[in-house]
Subunit: 383 residues, 2 copies
């Protein structure tokens, strides 16, 4: 029996984690959760899974839950999330499916507590890849990816020799605007951008897919998860999202992982690895019915954010943190109708042109920069 | 340094094995070869690789070589092939790239001598899969596949848990007549049938690809190589021959191996596994340039031989040996202009309708049946 600490329990990934856990009630017990403001969803989770500790975004929500469920412990804010991430239990497992920079600190604390971590929060490695990598090494903690692309690579590489790898090839659907020209993007609506062709995901990541910032983040994550050089990581457009990613070996043999677009597959694999256990929730992939898989070169002029993400990592220092903070603020502004879609990229570029020169920033530098950049962008556009 | 015994040295696979070995003269030494009648090619091999022992098909050719190269040992016929397969050497490695039933006995003898075997000869496992499997287990010998399809599965499964496998999916290009109807096949010429869309291979296997008998054989081989049930092995049409085969795991995750159509890749992997070593002979696969991969259901009515091969294994006894012998004889007749292309299948079906009832045949039963069936078919059609 593994005791699961689930951060971001009411989000898209969190909900799917619970669906997978429900299939194996004898293997997994939900011990703690952290969530934001979705009280109704949190109540359902509490009543169904009976966690010992629950953390909400605000004190008000925490008090409300405490009144309704006097037997559970409650917490709130950053302190609550960290308590949820490091909640004392035998055989603990932390699943970080928080969205945004709020996911960074709980990862750090869970690593310091020596917890095994299943990571769906992208920002952890984007903002602080170097710090997280050395911390994980120091505490001998493995970071297991939940993302479909990284899960694909993780599945392929299990049992293989890392020194035989030539490069990783991340697939990208191209999102809803793959066939649009850049000048067509000015007037796209929030609904257009949320209409991903293959995946049902949370709002933030769906917008990141439409701008391809998401793929830039995944390149950064892949570098740290699999300890590769940036120039060993390529991106290819694959509109069908059936091939979730690939690994090319030194002899030009390529191994690829394929499956339907269903996050419950990588979620279960992160839980059950190195085993592929039966998963009746997920439909089999019938390639005879899919018929055609297409691949196209990634056009760096059409989708510059992948290249920009690589450059930010090469520049190092606070560049990756600024990349993430400016994107997070800009996507929020777009989702709230404050800026046009094409403005997201402009805001990111503007901030990357004025990154404070701190080399080897520590965690506080990164977290402070995150707050400052977001406040600055919000002051300017959030009227 | 590994000492290589190469059976079928002048054939298509044999030549490509030598190309790969040439890249690593410090790792591999050619110690013995067996070949058929291609004396010119054999001379080149002798002069370049300086093997200690050479076996030819006939005594005449062996004497001719002995006169020209007095320093080498020579042999001929079945005895010569077996000596080549079991030639005494430190760190020996047997590569069986013989074509046809002649490959069976040398495999048996090499297994009995405890040799590691790289197997390109399909007939070994088709004719005597049960016998070979138990013999290999008894002598703790591994059979490493060289075929692109089985190499794909072998690469995928390395480091994985066999009990997690749901099924193997062999890809088939469909050969040169994929788009033809059955009634169009009556008048196809030998040249039409030898014109494979993706692979340059020997004549026998190219015809087997056109009839899809080859894929039926590969299903049988896969059963024995990977210890799977027949109903765990499916075939899918994939005209581009880029995905060389796939494995579906219990969670519906599929791993696939991709690469250009170049046998030197599976050959090197069989030599270098578990490592994927640099292989400059083989071009990288650039999926952006390939663009499209297509998959279609295998039509058992259009290509009945895959199903017939499975049935032959299910019936057991001498059925697989008769399947192979009748096919081998029929393909030879077609290549020599004695029968029409569509007659190959008819001859196979006719022989499978009158298989002698011997259960658990031994090696002699199988080898005698092979000779009898071939003689019978030749008497009838070879005029």
């Amino acid at each position: 029996m593994k005791n699961v600490c689930l951060l971001g329990a009411t989000g898209s990934i969190g909900q799917q984690v619970l669906e997978v856990m429900e299939q194996k009630p004898l293997e997994y017990k939900l011990i703690s959760i952290a969530f934001g403001e979705n009280v109704e969803s949190a109540k359902k989770i509490i009543e169904k899974f009976n966690p010992t500790f629950v953390s909400a975004k605000s004190k008000e929500i925490a008090n409300l839950l405490k009144a309704k469920y006097p037997e559970i412990e409650v917490g709130y804010g950053n302190e609550g999330i960290i308590k949820a991430a490091t909640f004392e239990a035998e055989n603990p497992l932390v699943i970080n499916s928080l969205v945004g920079s709020v996911g960074l600190l709980p990862t750090v604390k869970a690593i310091e507590a020596g917890r095994k971590i299943l990571l769906a929060n992208k920002e952890t490695l984007v903002m602080a890849g170097d710090i997280i990598s050395s911390l994980a090494k120091k505490h001998d903690v493995s970071l297991i990816p939940i993302d479909s692309e990284h899960s694909a690579i993780f599945q392929i590489l299990l049992g293989k020799n890392k020194e035989d790898v030539k490069r990783l090839i991340l697939t990208a659907s191209g999102g809803p605007f793959r066939k649009n020209k850049r000048e067509d993007l000015k007037n796209v609506t929030v609904n257009d951008a949320l209409n991903h062709p293959n995946w049902k995901m949370g709002a933030k990541i769906t917008i990141d897919s439409a701008t391809m910032m998401n793929k830039g983040f995944e390149v950064i994550e892949a570098k740290y998860l699999f300890d590769m050089d940036l120039d060993q990581i390529d991106v290819i457009i694959h509109p069908q999202s059936i091939v979730h990613s690939m690994v090319e070996f030194k002899d030009h043999s390529i191994l690829a992982q394929l499956g339907v677009s269903d996050m419950r597959l990588p979620i279960q694999f992160a839980l059950s690895y190195p085993h592929h256990e039966t998963l009746s929730l997920v439909k089999p992939l019938v390639l005879e019915e899919v018929g055609t898989l297409e691949f196209e070169k990634l056009d760096d002029e059409r989708f510059p954010l992948v290249k920009i993400a690589k450059e930010a990592v090469n520049k190092g220092g606070l560049y990756p943190a600024v990349l993430n903070a400016s994107n997070e603020a800009a996507v929020n502004l777009f989702l709230n109708g404050k800026i046009a879609f094409s403005k997201i990229e402009e805001i990111i570029l503007e901030e990357l042109n004025q990154v404070p020169s701190i080399y080897n920033p520590n965690l506080d530098d990164i977290l402070n920069t995150d707050i400052q950049i977001k406040e600055k962008i919000n002051r300017k556009f959030n009227r």
